[in-house]
């Protein structure tokens, strides 16, 4: 059904649990009828346009256990309901994991960051405008991708990993967490499991409807940053059509351990070029142990875009991605 914009929310049951057990219980009981709500910046558009019609919402913002930044054994844990502003301004994150602080500070606008949460930014749905418009595309259970049709407008869409759907991962914090080798903590009424950030996101070949490994009844409750990458050299850059309140056309997150001019270890991830944050393993292998130089940076840029398959209107993303990788390695 094509979107009809309303100014008001639909009639919907609102649950506001104040403790973890209650929230997980509700998520388990309500299943796909229970929409998980944090800052609401992804939610309200869907619901007001009547393109998603859950019968209930489970609001997580009153659960203190899933908020805040705390030091834990082996690193730092951030509650998934922590706002992006708090992350961007937190002294510990700024001093040790500046990559994430910068990425969080680049999300949307100050107003959105004040209410938007880390979990929301990571779990937000695809931003393809055909999908958001309410068309029955592949991702919506149909049998066609409008963005990849001959007349489709696909300037913002994927260079890699398209499998019927060509939507990209829209998150700014996701590539930063992949570069930091973060661990996602997923809770449900059955217990808890941990998934590497790199494996948390799912492409359309494996699941064309969902963008993460979250199953029904599961909630992302925390993100753990390992001390291994604390205080490394970081680089984050986002290119968008506007400097504020826009999604990335391409973003790059790099964590490097540098000794003198030698890159001893590195993790690189690129956002908005694939349905998942794209880890640039071939670039990492090529630059690891090498002396930084203009030549090495150029080679890294070329390697990063190998295998790119641009669509009708997003060829510009190839040199953009190559240049961002080059700047990250050169920085």
């Amino acid at each position: 059904m094509v979107a009809t914009s309303h100014d008001v929310m639909p009639d919907i049951e609102l649950y506001q649990p104040t403790d973890e057990a209650n929230a997980l219980d509700l998520a388990n009981t309500l299943g796909s009828d229970g929409w998980i709500l944090a800052g609401g910046q992804d939610t309200f558009g869907w619901l007001k346009d009547r393109n998603k019609n859950p019968s209930a919402m489970i609001e997580l913002t009153q659960i203190d256990a899933w908020k805040g930044v705390r030091e834990v054994d082996g690193g730092v844990e951030i509650g998934a309901v922590t706002t992006l502003t708090e992350i961007a301004e937190h002294p510990l994150i700024q001093s040790q994991y500046g990559l994430l602080a910068t990425a969080a500070s680049k999300v949307a606008s100050p107003q959105i960051r004040n209410v938007g949460t880390l979990g929301g930014n990571l779990n937000q749905d695809a931003r393809c405008w055909y999908y958001r418009r309410g068309l029955d595309c592949y991702r919506a259970g149909g049998n066609i991708c409008y963005a990849d049709s001959p007349e489709g407008l696909n300037r913002e869409h994927a260079l890699f990993g398209a499998s019927r759907c060509v939507a990209v991962s829209p998150s700014d914090t996701a590539p930063a967490l992949v570069a930091l080798d973060a661990t996602m903590v997923i809770s449900s009424s059955a217990g808890q499991r941990e998934v590497a950030a790199e494996d948390y996101f799912v492409g359309p070949a494996r699941d064309i409807v969902n963008m993460t490994v979250l199953n029904e009844g599961e909630i992302l409750t925390a993100v753990r940053l390992p001390s291994e990458w604390a205080n490394a050299e970081f680089y984050f850059e986002k290119v968008a059509d506007r400097n504020v309140w826009d999604f990335a056309l391409v973003n790059i997150a790099a964590a490097m351990k540098v000794s003198g001019d030698t890159i001893e270890d590195v993790r690189l991830a690129c956002g908005a070029v694939e349905c998942v944050p794209r880890r640039l393993q071939s670039v990492e292998d090529a630059v690891r142990g090498q002396q930084r130089s203009e030549q090495l940076a150029s080679r890294a840029g070329e390697l990063a875009t190998e295998g790119a398959r641009p669509l009708n209107y997003n060829h510009f993303k190839v040199p953009l991605m190559a240049n961002l990788v080059k700047r990250a390695v050169r920085a």
């Binding site: 049998n143 066609i144 049709s149 001959p150 398209a162 070949a205 699941d207 490994v213």
Partner: protein, 256 residues
């Protein structure tokens, strides 16, 4: 939109078009086939008490299937099972990267079907598989013995033929809508036509699930298992031949 056998949707212009088959039918088919086969197994178990005599597998052996035909059969069986699994896995909620495996198996099946049609037309006894009007009395007349294939086997073969051809033709049309190493997709088929292709592919898939389940069940039945053995090893005994077939209609050569 409305669910029954067919699912509909609105296309990009707001027109109602076919989206595909309703996958609720997969569960209907699964339950119906399961109940039918359980009922058949029950009836056969009761009847088996009255008739325990089975032909011996010992003694001289005759050739039922050439090696190349057995390879065709098992490769086709494997590709169909892979296609059914990879096609239905996302429908029942399994998250696997199914599409590449699906189209590769589909291509293998397509080539096998083409090769089988050519071989059956020119090198095999094509007439042995034909269903003639006189064959329809065979199940009701115990004095009538068939040639190489009996009535139900021929029926199963032709039902599978129709369904596999439908699934292959619609599958090839769908294959042309995705990216492969051979071409980039154009995504240009009108939505109404695409929906029809999806519907026919879905319907033939449902039929294939029913036929494959039934075929596997009968292949494993104790009184039929010698046919499965013949499809593995190639031979059946003269005793089995005499008990189930008419040598006047089918005179196979002796096995080595």
């Amino acid at each position: 939109m409305g669910e029954g056998i067919v699912r509909y949707k609105r296309d990009v212009w707001g027109e109602e078009v076919i989206l595909g088959v309703s996958w609720d039918l997969l569960w209907v088919i699964a339950v119906a086939i399961f109940l039918l086969l359980v009922a058949h197994a029950f009836v056969m178990a009761v009847m088996a008490k009255k008739n325990l005599d089975r032909p011996s597998k010992d003694g001289r052996r005759i050739v039922r299937h050439e090696s190349i035909d057995r390879w065709f059969h098992w490769l086709m069986a494997a590709s169909i099972l892979v296609l059914i699994f990879t096609g239905t896995a996302p429908i029942i909620g399994m998250r696997i990267a199914w599409l590449d495996i699906h189209w590769i198996s589909g291509l293998i099946l397509t080539f096998l079907v083409i090769a089988h049609i050519i071989r059956a037309s020119f090198w095999q006894d094509f007439k042995s598989m034909l269903l003639m009007p006189k064959d329809f009395s065979e199940p009701f007349d115990s004095s009538k013995k068939p040639g190489k294939y009996y009535f139900e086997q021929k029926g199963m073969h032709w039902a599978v033929t129709v369904v596999v051809l439908a699934v292959v033709i619609t599958g090839v049309l769908m294959f042309m809508q995705i990216d492969t190493p051979f071409w980039d997709r154009t995504n240009s088929m009108p939505e109404s036509q695409l929906g029809l292709v999806f519907l026919l592919h879905g319907l033939s898939t449902l039929a294939l699930v029913a036929l494959a389940s039934t075929h596997i069940y009968f292949a494993l039945r104790p009184e039929k298992i010698f046919y499965t053995r013949a499809m593995v090893s190639g031979w059946m005994s003269e005793d089995e031949l005499a008990a189930n077939h008419d040598p006047a209609k089918w005179a196979p050569k002796e096995a080595d």
